[in-house]
């Protein structure tokens, strides 16, 4: 199975000011130390009467720098939730190491500055939204004097302040999702781990959550999110790791996919004229010399070729009608990765 690691580390974003809210400080750490380091994480499960082994994840390794938004992308069952379970010590891996904010993930103090939103957040039915956040504030050792203000702040952030007095069994799925985000933000976390944060939301809800995550990113918080919705990842993440069948098959910066564009240049001349002009041979691939029409489409694979082609057109006196970027997006990358896996 091919394994392509294009980028391992992404430069850290500016460090956020430390907050007084939350449980024991994790201690001073060098700024360059990543927020999350995962090395060779492997986990399988036993299932059924025969205790058949099912592979969860195998040899998953990645690093998330401070201030970065890293997305784990994969289809359902690819191993995203298992990976997240291992990070939070909910699932015990057979092999591998996890460092959360400079501490071993088995040390519970490492979770003091981590906010987590599960895929399908579910809370106590008979508590109100505010009571639930008070409960989590106690678990996070939020200072009693700051508690009410802090709860109001996160409720406002997720636009749930007016509904805070209602019991959770009266909440819609989207409201539960937003309350889940509120509890994740309550301890003013340095690292947010969000499992499918947009799942179950209507388009408006998705836009609101996306906007909230973009604000959190601007604040310099590190975010690890899992998703199988490519456009969401594309808009939010700095880097992506693609999981397939429990293996991390690709790690890449999203800047790199944005650069991966090809271009179509439309010259305002018939094909026969264009072929006769001094344009590079690679630009003519696919051009039918006998085609009728006043315009001919030429291809450039990257910005360097585009520049060369435009210079050639200019030199040959060929008018350029239009230049169109044809982006190779994350979706293409995701699909290509899965097709490669299917063929393997």
């Amino acid at each position: 199975m091919s394994r392509q690691v294009l980028v391992e580390n992404i430069p850290p974003a500016p460090a956020r000011a430390a907050s007084s809210v939350g449980a024991p400080e994790a201690g001073a750490r060098p700024a360059a130390e990543p927020a999350l380091r995962v090395v060779d994480l492997t986990k399988s499960f036993r299932s059924g009467f025969a205790r058949r082994e099912i592979r969860g994840i195998e040899g998953v390794s990645f690093t998330v720098a401070r201030g970065e938004v890293f997305a784990l992308l994969g289809h359902n069952g690819a191993g995203k939730t298992t990976t997240i379970g291992c990070l939070l010590d909910l699932v015990r891996p057979e092999r591998g190491q996890v460092t959360l904010l400079g501490r071993d993930h088995r040390d519970r103090a490492s979770r003091a500055r981590v906010g987590y939103l599960p895929e399908r957040p579910y809370f106590f039915d008979y508590l109100t939204g505010r009571e639930l956040l008070e409960f989590y504030a106690d678990l996070l050792d939020v200072d009693r004097r700051e508690r009410t203000g802090r709860i109001d702040e996160v409720l406002r952030q997720v636009d749930m302040l007016p509904d805070a007095g209602r019991r959770l069994n009266k909440y819609s799925k989207g409201m539960l999702q937003r309350l889940g985000l509120a509890q994740a933000l309550l301890g003013d976390p340095e690292l947010l781990i969000l499992d499918e944060p947009m799942s179950g939301l209507d388009p408006l809800g998705r836009r609101e959550v996306r906007s909230l995550l973009q604000d959190l990113k601007k604040q310099g918080r590190t975010i690890l999110l899992s998703s199988h919705i490519v456009p969401d990842v594309e808009q939010l993440a700095d880097a992506v790791g693609i999981l397939r069948d429990g293996r991390l098959v690709l790690q890449q910066r999203l800047g790199a996919t944005a650069d991966a564009c090809s271009y179509r240049v439309r010259a305002g001349a018939p094909a026969a004229v264009v072929r006769a002009a001094a344009v590079p041979a690679w630009a003519l691939a696919g051009v039918d010399a006998t085609a009728a029409g006043d315009a001919t489409d030429l291809a450039a694979a990257d910005p360097r070729q585009l520049r060369e082609l435009l210079d050639a057109c200019h030199g040959a006196g060929l008018p350029v009608v239009s230049v169109e970027a044809q982006r190779t997006g994350l979706e293409d990358l995701f699909l290509a990765t899965h097709h490669r896996g299917g063929e393997a």
């Binding site: 379970g85 519970r108 987590y116 039915d125 009571e131 678990l139």
Partner: protein
């Protein structure tokens, strides 16, 4: 283990269970008490107070048992299945803290129910001439201890088996716990060495819940010594602690798939 974490978990569990219509059972208890007074009065000339108090004390224990078993058996599993537990344990909370908080919350619910039923019980006794006595307090206290041990049993089973099995095993342990003394005595009457040993082993493997049963003595005015109450307290605490330690050991190794 952080006390404020345990107390927060206990409070959350208490609020959740109390609001989950559990107190409907208390209303049912009131109905049982009213009915027993009305129905049994004509049949029990001169012993009305004893009959009403006997029925009342038995009903309190039984309803307390129902709450503990049916709320407790699904408590951990429900949170595992629905994922509530993952958000709790993603905070800096230990798994033993979580279990202890759950136990205390359920115990608090059961204690509050017993307290309300006790007050209703004593009010009903005021209607039966000569039946009211503060010595019933000992019976209430020991019923609470007994149900605390049962709560620890259900918490233990809820960490390792399905809710249905946890309920069945806990009810089984409750019945066997009340019969363990009789089983030991029956074993001593056996001729064979194996029969005697098995009965003794079963006796020591199960909590002897008859230790907490002073209903008969209290109803009939027989004395319950302070030494018995003290020993029963110690016995209840030891069994509860042992069961919670076992539950903690099982739960700390459990995979919690989110």
């Amino acid at each position: 283990m952080r006390r404020n974490h345990v107390l927060a978990l206990a409070r959350g569990t208490f609020l959740e269970t109390v609001r989950d219509r559990v107190f409907y059972l208390v209303a049912f208890f009131g109905f049982v008490m009213m009915s027993s007074t009305t129905i049994l009065s004509p049949l029990t000339i001169g012993a009305q107070g004893k009959i009403v108090s006997d029925v009342g004390l038995a009903a309190m224990t039984l309803l307390g048992l129902l709450v503990v078993v049916f709320v407790g058996s699904g408590m951990v599993r429900k949170e595992l299945d629905k994922g509530t537990i993952t958000t709790i344990l993603s905070k800096p909370i230990g798994r033993r803290e979580y279990l202890l908080g759950k136990f205390l919350g359920l115990n608090l619910t059961m204690g509050a129910m017993l307290a309300v039923m006790s007050v209703m019980f004593l009010l009903m006794l005021l209607l039966s001439p000569g039946a009211f006595s503060l010595r019933f307090g000992v019976a209430f206290y020991l019923a609470f201890l007994e149900l605390s041990v049962v709560t620890a049993i259900v918490v233990f089973f809820s960490t390792c088996v399905s809710p249905v099995l946890a309920a069945v095993f806990t009810l089984g342990a409750f019945v066997a716990g009340h019969l363990s003394e009789s089983m030991r005595d029956f074993g001593q009457l056996q001729q064979g060495f194996v029969g005697q040993k098995v009965a003794t082993v079963v006796y020591y493997l199960l909590p002897n819940l008859e230790v907490f049963n002073v209903r008969g003595s209290v109803v009939h005015g027989d004395p319950v010594t302070a030494a018995h109450v003290a020993l029963a307290t110690l016995y209840g605490i030891c069994w509860t602690a042992l069961l919670l330690l076992l539950a903690g050991a099982v739960f700390s190794r459990k995979e919690l798939r989110g």
